[in-house]
């Protein structure tokens, strides 16, 4: 921001330079002291001067004189000389003679007296400059008191000239001075109207009748054609300072829409110079007129916030996507132009407004930070920013429904395992947030499984019974183990969710793999009817078919079953008629029959791999869907493929056509080398968060997106105007591969750094107890590289100077949301720099 300020400060100093170069008599002293004769004889026609008559040194007028003297420099910029006239003792003339005249200052133009000011109207430089200019610019600045006067002026101006309407709560204020100074420069261009009546402000339709603050509105009367309609108004958003008024008027004076025919990178308008973004409406010959109307419409809405340019693509060779219709150029140095596809003019406005709000907020924050730095530092660090810990502690007063779950102790643990066929044990620590979160899901599981025979749900609090947990080799919390008749334990290694855990427990009840004795059983198994415990349970069934001789493959399959137990049901058939069974599915033993969703389709797969490990890997791969709906629960399985994702985002189910086309596309996935999937925002609402990250707003759905998750992180989206068909998508993918498409965004590469600094106790100890010989002198000498302040890269933030650290940190966390979770690249970079500078 400071860069922009510099820019318009410099352009403003140019203005001041013009103002001050109004020829003046090169007086060496700003406040001249003259005798009455010298003064009156030296008055030139058209030259204004402010005179103060002083009999001798009068002590009472001293402060007033001081202010006059101070204002001499400011007034000189406007060609007004300030003179102190020393009255001789004997003088009894008009100005020197009268006692009360000595309490006044006189403004002359030439030798004509314009105004006489009582000294109490000239209390400081602002009031002197404001009042003097107000008097001199009597014609340029109309003072109005009633609405009727204002409307008269406005009507008179329509079609001819624009009006600057200013409200100041009182004259002689800094705001008043700013308006007058602006009027001095712009008075000939625009009609200035000033009021101190707040009622006028209310009647101008300003919704903010805050009468204590001055306001300025630019009324576009020159364009007004309809006499019945009031002129369009653009209020100035910032405080009334000369710089801001200048900036506002410059913006109002700029063309509404700039038509450009060159590379946008080279375009520069007054907006960019003043630190505002420039929006390009990309147009083509065919639609130019319509686009110009759009541009003007947008420009009106963005007046004072951003510039609008109309760029004809026919004239410029743009290396951007054809469907891009808007470009945004920011005033920041080195930021490339962003090309966007927006559907609505509102989107353009939103884009700009949100951006300016962020800036505003950041600025505000910076201000605040400087004021209450220490306070904030304390506040942040001890506020919980771990969502799990916070959620659990907010829930701690609720009593958990744990009646269904048996609490085991060191004494009851072993006997409990022997009592039931399957004992599920949750090992947790009552102080540990993640295990308490899992305990809540576990309670839901217990509720689901209420009344299921042969399964006991139990828990061991390792904080109470560390001996059991150590003996059972529980090294982290939480851990769930399923004990079979008190012996072999299977460790649960799935998602810590109610559904997943319930399913795991249910599937674990059946041995894995399950030996099937007859052909009927095998068929029933594939249909999902056998074993009956699982018939009501939706699952995928795997059947290994072996001939009697294939003991090696069978053993490997059994071993694989141990690994996959709970995640899938596995059956095994090796009776004499195994060959017949496998033939039915066009394979020969050893083979795998895969029945998805209740046996509606059975797939035969030849088992070529012999080792259990390979078999596990193969089965896991086969369990993946061809065109899955991606969910929070199943994503990791697909991520393991380490391939780019082609995701169809959809708000609800996807359409029949799209589904079929995508399936076609996905079936060729072996060649394509990507994961084709879809995401249902209704079921996985966090998908919205993904879209917002990719495209700033949630675009219209369905939307096909390509994400290079594992390489580079670029995100592309399929042109929404094209229909999603296999061929369209394939040719788009070709273009992607050829590098012809520009990514919509790129995934952040940011590392996960500490969200906030720690308390630097080492430093506190040294500060508080300086005599503490922590830093022995020869340690300085011996190994200076170990001194924290010099550590290269400063990779432990603990050693940072706290003030710097917190500053960087605060800039990086405008939200108290996750305190640094959301990627904030710019600020992180800044922090990184700080580190290396140390």
């Amino acid at each position: 921001m400071s860069a922009h300020k510099d820019r318009w400060v410099s352009s403003f100093s140019f203005l001041l330079f013009c103002a001050s170069s109004i020829p003046t008599q090169g007086s060496t002293r700003l406040l001249r002291e003259l005798s009455p004769q010298e003064y009156f004889s030296g008055l030139q026609a058209g030259r204004a001067s402010l005179a103060y008559f002083s009999p001798n040194v009068s002590p009472g007028a001293q402060p007033f004189l001081e202010q006059i003297e101070n204002s001499a420099e400011a007034l000189q910029d406007y060609g007004i000389s300030v003179v102190k006239v020393n009255c001789p003792k004997e003088d009894v003339s008009r100005y020197c003679g009268k006692e009360n005249a000595l309490r006044k200052a006189y403004l002359f133009r030439g030798n004509v007296l314009i105004r006489e000011f009582p000294t109490d109207a000239l209390f400081d430089v602002d009031s002197i400059v404001a009042n003097v200019l107000f008097a001199l610019l009597f014609n340029e600045v109309k003072y109005v008191e009633t609405l009727a006067d204002l409307q008269d002026i406005e009507n008179a101006l329509k079609g001819r000239s624009n009006m600057v309407f200013a409200y100041v709560p009182a004259t002689g204020t800094a705001e008043h001075r700013a308006v007058m100074e602006a009027a001095f420069v712009y008075g000939t261009v625009h009609q200035f109207v000033l009021t101190t009546e707040a009622t006028l402000l209310k009647d101008t339709g300003s919704d903010e009748p805050d009468v204590s603050s001055a306001r300025l509105l630019f009324c576009h009367c020159q364009r007004a054609t309809d006499l019945a309609q009031p002129c369009k108004r653009t209020a100035m958003g910032q405080a009334l300072t000369l710089l801001n008024i200048h900036r506002h008027l410059k913006l109002m004076g700029a063309p509404l829409v700039t038509e450009v025919a060159e590379d946008p990178e080279k375009v520069s308008t007054v907006h960019l110079q003043l630190g505002l973004p420039l929006v390009f409406i990309l147009s083509q010959k065919e639609t130019y007129e319509a686009d110009r109307r759009t541009a003007e419409f947008v420009a009106w809405q963005l007046l004072g916030k951003a510039g609008v340019a109309l760029l004809s693509r026919d004239l410029v060779d743009l290396k951007v996507l054809l469907r891009s219709n808007v470009a945004l150029k920011t005033p920041d140095e080195g930021v490339p132009i962003k090309y966007l596809v927006l559907e609505d003019t509102d989107d353009v406005v939103t884009l700009v407004e949100e951006r300016s709000k962020v800036e505003q907020i950041q600025e505000d924050e910076e201000d605040e930070e400087e004021e209450e730095e220490d306070e904030k530092e304390d506040n942040n660090q001890d506020v919980q920013d771990d969502q799990v810990v916070e959620a659990v502690s907010r829930d701690k007063k609720r009593e958990l429904p744990l009646e269904q779950i048996l609490a085991l102790t060191e004494d009851t643990f072993h006997s409990a395992l022997l009592d039931t066929a399957r004992t599920v044990v949750l090992f947790y620590a009552s102080w540990e947030a993640v295990s308490l979160a899992v305990l809540r899901s576990y309670a839901e599981v217990a509720d689901h499984l209420k009344g299921t025979r042969g399964v006991l749900l139990s828990r061991v609090n390792c904080w109470d019974w560390p001996g059991v947990c150590t003996k059972e080799n529980v090294t982290q919390f939480p851990t769930i183990k399923i004990y079979k008749n008190g012996e072999r334990a299977v460790m649960y290694n799935g998602m810590w969710g109610t559904e997943e855990l319930t399913s795991f427990i249910m599937l674990s009840r059946v041995s894995c793999p399950l030996k099937l004795a007859t052909m009927d059983e095998a068929e029933g198994y594939l249909r999902g009817e056998f074993p009956s415990e699982l018939s009501s349970y939706h699952h995928t069934s795997l059947l290994g078919v072996f001939s009697t001789a294939m003991s090696e493959a069978r053993e490997a399959f059994e071993e694989a079953g141990n690994v996959l137990s709970g995640h899938v049901t596995m059956g095994m058939y090796f009776e004499d008629d195994a060959l017949a069974l496998s033939r039915k599915y066009a394979v020969s033993p050893p083979a795998l029959l895969l029945a998805r969703s209740g046996g509606r389709s059975v797939e035969g797969i030849a088992l070529s791999k012999q080792s259990a490990q390979d078999m596990v890997r193969m089965i896991r791969y086969e369990l993946l869907d061809i065109f899955p709906e991606i969910t929070v629960q199943n994503l990791p399985r697909y991520l393991q493929l380490r391939k780019p994702f082609l995701i169809l985002f959809s708000d609800g189910d996807i359409g029949q056509v799209e589904s079929e086309e995508m399936l076609k596309l996905a079936k060729g996935r072996l060649q394509q080398g990507f994961v084709a999937c879809w995401l249902n925002l209704k079921k996985t609402p966090v998908g919205r968060g993904i879209l917002k990250t990719y495209f700033a707003t949630v675009p219209s759905l369905p939307l096909l997106v390509w994400v290079n998750l594992h390489a580079g992180g670029q995100v592309f989206h399929f042109p929404s105007e094209q229909s999603i068909t296999e061929s369209n998508v394939l040719s788009w993918l070709e273009k992607l591969k050829a590098g012809l498409e520009i990514p919509s965004s790129t995934l952040s590469e940011e590392d996960w750094k500490p969200p906030l600094p720690a308390y630097d106790f080492l430093q506190m100890m040294e500060t508080a107890v300086p005599e503490l010989p922590l830093h022995t002198s020869h340690r300085h000498g011996d190994m200076p590289e170990r001194r924290p302040s010099e550590s290269p890269g400063g990779d432990t933030a603990v050693q940072e100077e706290p003030s710097q650290e917190t500053e960087a940190e605060k800039a990086g966390s405008p939200g108290r949301d996750l305190r640094g979770t959301a990627p904030r690249l710019a600020t992180r970079d800044k922090q990184g720099k700080r580190h290396s500078e140390l």
Partner: protein, 675 residues
């Protein structure tokens, strides 16, 4: 050299008579049995020599008044067996739950007979190999390059039976009574033999020399029947509740302080015992005078010629004659049995009653000789609990672990955890670990970081004094930095003259945790292992050299360091900043979001969610997280439009976050370009 040759020839002469063991332990007291237990569990070849017919012979006699001052807490309100050991100062460590001291006595301060019974059971139930009635009267060395330590230890018992050992563990305790010699010291009765029957003191005036627990215990016993009791010693009284050292005067023995301060005739005096002299008059009364007067007088001139202080100073404090003088001056180590080649040297200053040893408990003079138990207290004398059962049971285990690594290639036990468990591991240990708690500032848990800080290795209760030798002593490697977890009292809190009850003595806010006074966990972070030189040059009163970062976990009234915000959160921030990573937990939904929007994932998602162990979380919990403003509720579809201004307290933040998200795509491009 002559001696060594002599010793060598001696053993050559009677070589066949040697009985060999890898480990010899002298003494079947608590520390000897404790060492035997660990050696037995490890299947080592060892023997314990005990001069008495039963273990714990010291406890059979002492304390004379039979009241142990180690607490035996029956109830703590907790079932955690490790935690409960913090308040059980008498049990030894074993896997056998029958061998918990509270099964032997219900008294808070148990009778010493219970200890004798306990030690007998400990030795017999665990079938420890103790050779009773064997008093080792001489220990010498036999040089041999083949031996573990280039020499064997040759032990001789009272029957001239010889034993040969590779490693010698000295667990003899301190049992030789301290005696002072001054003119008239023959009239002084010793603590060892003085009557414990109060009747014997009825109507007597008693002077007690010494100011330790045995002196006060003796006084306590006769306080009610004597005329008055005076106590003399060189130093001022040190109250254990002010010094936080369990060896100083315990409140249970300090009845005499009460009667002194309330002017009920009893009293305390300071003076150097070496300057005293006692003169017995004709009536058998004992008069205190100064050695100075005795030296100046002519010999054998009789009692009447002796100047008494009150002759010159008529208000001299101990001018009243005493009926009895009792010496209660404590014990020292028996140095007499060691051949000088072993260079068993007494410590310096107030540690002269203990042999000189390294912080690894190995003798400074002889490699392979370790001192265990009370005799090893020089490491932490007047600081921690290494001289007492509840302390040395842990240091003995530490010595055993050092030996396992040194002689049997068994590295120090450790567990490897993923980095996400770092905060948890520390919190678990500081809340339940008993060794860290009893042996504060002496034993420390060590966390060795693995490369890239994705995992760590946890070592329990390592002697912090030999931190520099960690890699050699444990067989574990520490190339990527380490944390040292120990417990400390506030640096300026303890002391005989300190007011430990001043207002605001306890700190309540995490940001001031470094000023905590009561015992609290402290974590030191080093980017690399400190060197021996750094260890030597560490600031006085610091257990360790200057770390790269330090964290104090706020002291807690209940010693329960599990408060999410006051204890765990600041610890997490400390660890995060040391490791330069983000150790927060996330629900699976957020890991999912990060997987699609970030190229890198936080450790919790990487090690959990990505391995199919995501924390799905219940609906209620997610709602809490949303309410806390720590999660976005994506089920709300209106989040781009104008949200109602109220929503909840975090609405402002929500708004900010939305903006932040909106500008992000631009920033991505910026980033990509810059790189």
């Amino acid at each position: 050299l002559g001696l060594a040759l002599y010793a060598g020839s001696l053993c050559a002469a009677s070589g066949a008579a040697f009985l060999y063991h890898d480990y010899c332990i002298i003494g079947a007291g608590p520390s000897g049995l404790q060492a035997a237990y660990f050696l037995q569990r490890a299947g080592r070849d060892y023997v314990v020599f005990e001069r008495s017919h039963a273990p714990g012979s010291f406890f059979a006699l002492y304390p004379r008044h039979r009241k142990l001052i180690s607490i035996n807490k029956q109830y703590t309100g907790k079932s955690n067996s490790e935690f409960n050991l913090r308040h059980d100062w008498n049990s030894l460590l074993s896997h056998d739950r029958r061998l918990l001291f509270r099964r032997y006595s219900r008294d808070f301060f148990p009778n010493a007979d219970a200890m004798v019974r306990y030690l007998e059971d400990f030795a017999s139930l665990l079938k420890l190999r103790v050779q009773y009635n064997t008093a080792i009267i001489h220990v010498t060395l036999e040089r041999d390059r083949q031996a573990w330590n280039s020499h064997y230890f040759l032990l001789t018992d009272q029957d001239r039976q010889n034993y040969k050992c590779s490693s010698l563990l000295v667990a003899t305790g301190t049992w030789v009574a301290n005696v002072v010699n001054f003119p008239g010291s023959e009239y002084v009765e010793g603590y060892e033999t003085v009557s414990i029957n109060p009747e014997d003191f009825a109507g007597q005036t008693v002077l007690i020399l010494g100011r330790g627990n045995s002196a006060f215990e003796t006084a306590e016993n006769i306080l009610g029947v004597t005329n008055f009791i005076h106590m003399v010693s060189r130093s001022r009284v040190r109250l254990s509740w002010a010094t936080h050292y369990v060896g100083d005067l315990r409140a249970i023995n300090n009845g005499l302080l009460d009667t002194y301060q309330l002017k009920s005739l009893d009293g305390l005096l300071e003076g150097n015992l070496e300057d005293l002299a006692i003169v017995k008059d004709k009536k058998g009364k004992l008069h205190i005078t100064l050695r100075f007067y005795l030296e100046n007088r002519n010999t054998s001139a009789g009692i009447d010629s002796i100047t008494l202080p009150q002759d010159e100073l008529d208000n001299f404090a101990t001018r009243a004659p005493y009926d009895r003088v009792i010496r209660c001056l404590g014990w020292k180590f028996d140095f007499s049995i060691y051949n000088s080649s072993l260079r068993m040297m007494p410590g310096k200053g107030d540690k002269k009653k203990y042999p000189q040893i390294k912080p690894s408990y190995e003798s400074r003079g002889t490699r392979g000789l370790f001192v265990l138990g009370t005799a090893s207290h020089s490491v932490d004398f007047r600081k921690s609990a290494g001289g007492f059962i509840h302390g040395f049971r842990y240091t003995t285990r530490a010595v055993h672990r050092l030996l396992e690594n040194r002689h049997h290639g068994v590295p120090w036990p450790s567990t490897v955890y993923p980095i996400t468990q770092l905060t948890n591991s520390i919190i678990k240990r500081v809340n339940e670990a008993s060794g860290l708690y009893q042996m504060f500032s002496v034993l420390a848990d060590i966390i060795l970081l693995r490369e890239n800080a994705t995992a760590f290795e946890y070592l329990e209760e390592y002697p912090v004094g030999v931190l520099a030798e960690l890699e050699m002593q444990t067989g574990r490697k520490a190339p990527n930095g380490l944390f040292v977890v120990l417990m400390e009292y506030g640096r300026n809190f303890s002391g005989a003259d300190k007011d430990v009850f001043y207002y605001n003595r306890a700190v309540g806010e995490a940001q001031h945790a470094w000023q905590s006074n009561f015992l609290h966990p402290v974590i030191y972070f080093y980017k690399r292992l400190p060197t021996e030189r750094e260890m030597r040059l560490r600031p006085p009163d610091w257990p360790l050299p200057r770390p790269d970062a330090i964290h104090h976990i706020l002291e807690d009234f209940l010693t329960d360091w599990t408060a999410p915000n006051a204890h765990i959160l600041p610890l997490r921030r400390f660890l995060e900043n040391c490791l330069s990573t983000d150790l927060r937990n996330f629900f699976a939904e957020y890991c999912f979001l990060f997987a699609f929007t970030r190229q890198k994932l936080p450790p919790f998602c990487r090690q959990g969610y990505m391995r199919m162990q995501g924390l799905v979380g219940s609906e209620g919990l997610r709602r809490h997280a949303v309410e806390a403003g720590l999660m976005e509720d994506y089920t709300r579809t209106d989040f781009l439009g104008n949200r109602p201004p109220d929503s909840h307290e975090g609405s402002q933040d929500q708004l900010l976050r939305d903006h932040a998200i909106l500008v992000r795509p631009l920033q991505h491009l910026v980033n990509a370009k810059d790189e």
